[in-house]
Symmetry: C2
Subunit: 305 residues, 2 copies
């Protein structure tokens, strides 16, 4: 199975309003809720692809209960979330139906105690044993040490499980130094890590900092990968319009499912680009459109830059 | 005891953000939650005043559970809320800390089935028996008939319990025709009911439509009351600045607590104005400041206009 870690899970709430006006009162015309946090999104995509996947991390309080209830309805995902005394955060996306635009509000997340963090590390060691790959995703909730991902990367390496780290800022910087198999920064995260805004040299620089492979997301232009086997750019056959929410999580799901199937880098990248495009093109944020996925995966262009 | 009815209860969520920018992403610096809906607010103020008070209406789903948990912590309020299959709504106030201003998002509320509405009417009849006064407050959730308040006003009158109706639009128009003891419109609600924006004639007009007494909120200028005993204006001794959220609910609490103590109209109005001013002046929205209440209640000016 593939293990995904989401220390700061979230209940993703979406409000649709006819028109967003600051300092006014709005009737919300539609409310939707889905289980979220990057690792949870990765798990849902893997489950929909038919992979065996287990999701761990923390879930607490009434919001955590709602999240777990919704996750129980996600095909193929085994819930191995740990309880915590604090309340899981909500993220709120307010969609302005006239502008077609979104205003986002993100709560901070529960305070994790040292005992809860220790209990998580024990559980994680147990879950690594049957795992064929692990994804460490997203921000750290308050209370979890900033070097948490470095600890989790080292544990995965000690267990011989390939680990993909998808986070930002100081947790990324420290996690990279622990030598994960892969990191998947976007342009902004890569620039923050390396100080360079030029994707190719920055991607190579990030590899030198410790990651065995760096897969940089170039948005609509696809992916740029620097690996021990070579450097590739993978681009979709045409620009797909839609909602980019969750596209990065689909990249992670594509890379890990292809890795566990023993595919080589060009095939991994083609799958990741196709899943990402199918996510942008899906009617609901964070879902992927299977027809687009099948259509695109055969025609992704993988080239040496 | 005093009975308050809130058919469309709400969990009132407040997000504080440093600066609200449409179409941007915000970290929420503080999240607070309190039990809400107008009748629940009235009950909390009555409980804080030391009155015996019972709150009924609907609460459902995980949000309803959170609301009931918070209500259990409100001093003196007996929870007689009925379960419903739908989920209680949230209201979200996003406070912009730099502008000192609020953007409001209101969910619609659960769909109430005919069986749930019938069960509520039975429970209401039972709760009316020990009641000395009843407040019917706020909007109707989807599924409840628009003439619901007229039904509840007639039941209270048949039980000999004085009833105050605080709502707007068509539910107010139909409820007034059932001859409640009191209605408490604000200027906009009164204009919608009567077609007149001139407070004194409009207040008198609203009485002719069926309410025994009409107490119109004039915002910072206090209250205007047309009753069988006479017409009065009640004004605070000085303008109090602050957050007007919940000030109208404090007016309802003041009117009903004074009614059940057998006070006459000028005393009822003085208490309502003082409680309202103490609510505007409180640090937290929807609370009241006991010191301001004690200070203002002796110096409210009640005059015949």
């Amino acid at each position: 199975m593939i293990l995904t870690v989401t220390l700061n899970t979230a209940l993703d709430v979406t409000y649709r309003v006819p028109r967003m006006r600051p300092h006014a009162s709005h009737r919300v015309s539609e409310v939707t809720e889905r289980p979220g946090g990057k690792g949870v999104n990765v798990a849902r995509v893997l489950g929909a692809l038919g992979c065996e996947v287990t999701a761990t991390g923390f879930a607490g309080g009434p919001v955590g209960e709602v999240l777990r209830g919704l996750l129980a309805g996600a095909p193929g995902v085994v819930d191995a979330l740990l309880p915590c005394a604090g309340t899981t955060r909500r993220t709120l996306a307010v969609v302005d139906e006239s502008a077609g635009d979104t205003t986002q509000f993100n709560e901070a997340g529960p305070h994790i105690t040292p005992a809860e963090w220790a209990a998580f590390r024990d559980r994680y060691e147990d879950l690594l044993r049957p795992a064929r790959a692990v994804a460490l995703c997203g921000s750290l909730p308050p209370g979890v040490p900033v070097g948490a991902y470095a600890v989790l990367v080292r544990a995965a390496r000690a267990a011989g499980v390939p680990v993909l780290l998808d986070t930002s800022g100081e947790p990324l910087r420290r996690g990279v130094a622990a030598r994960p198999e892969m990191i998947k920064p976007n342009a902004a995260e890569l620039a923050e890590l390396t100080g360079s805004r030029d994707p190719l040299p920055a991607t190579r620089d990030a590899r030198r900092r410790g990651a065995h492979a760096v897969i940089t997301s170039l948005g609509a232009d696809g992916l740029l990968a620097a690996t021990a086997q070579g450097t590739w750019q993978a681009a979709p056959p045409r620009a797909l319009t839609g909602n980019p929410t969750g596209a990065g999580d689909s990249v992670v799901a594509g890379l890990l499912s292809a890795l566990t199937e023993g595919l080589d880098w060009p095939e991994r990248l083609a799958r990741a680009v196709a899943l990402s495009a199918a996510t942008v093109h899906a009617p609901a944020a964070g879902e992927f459109d299977p027809r687009t996925y099948e259509e695109v995966r055969g025609s992704v262009k993988v080239t040496a830059p």
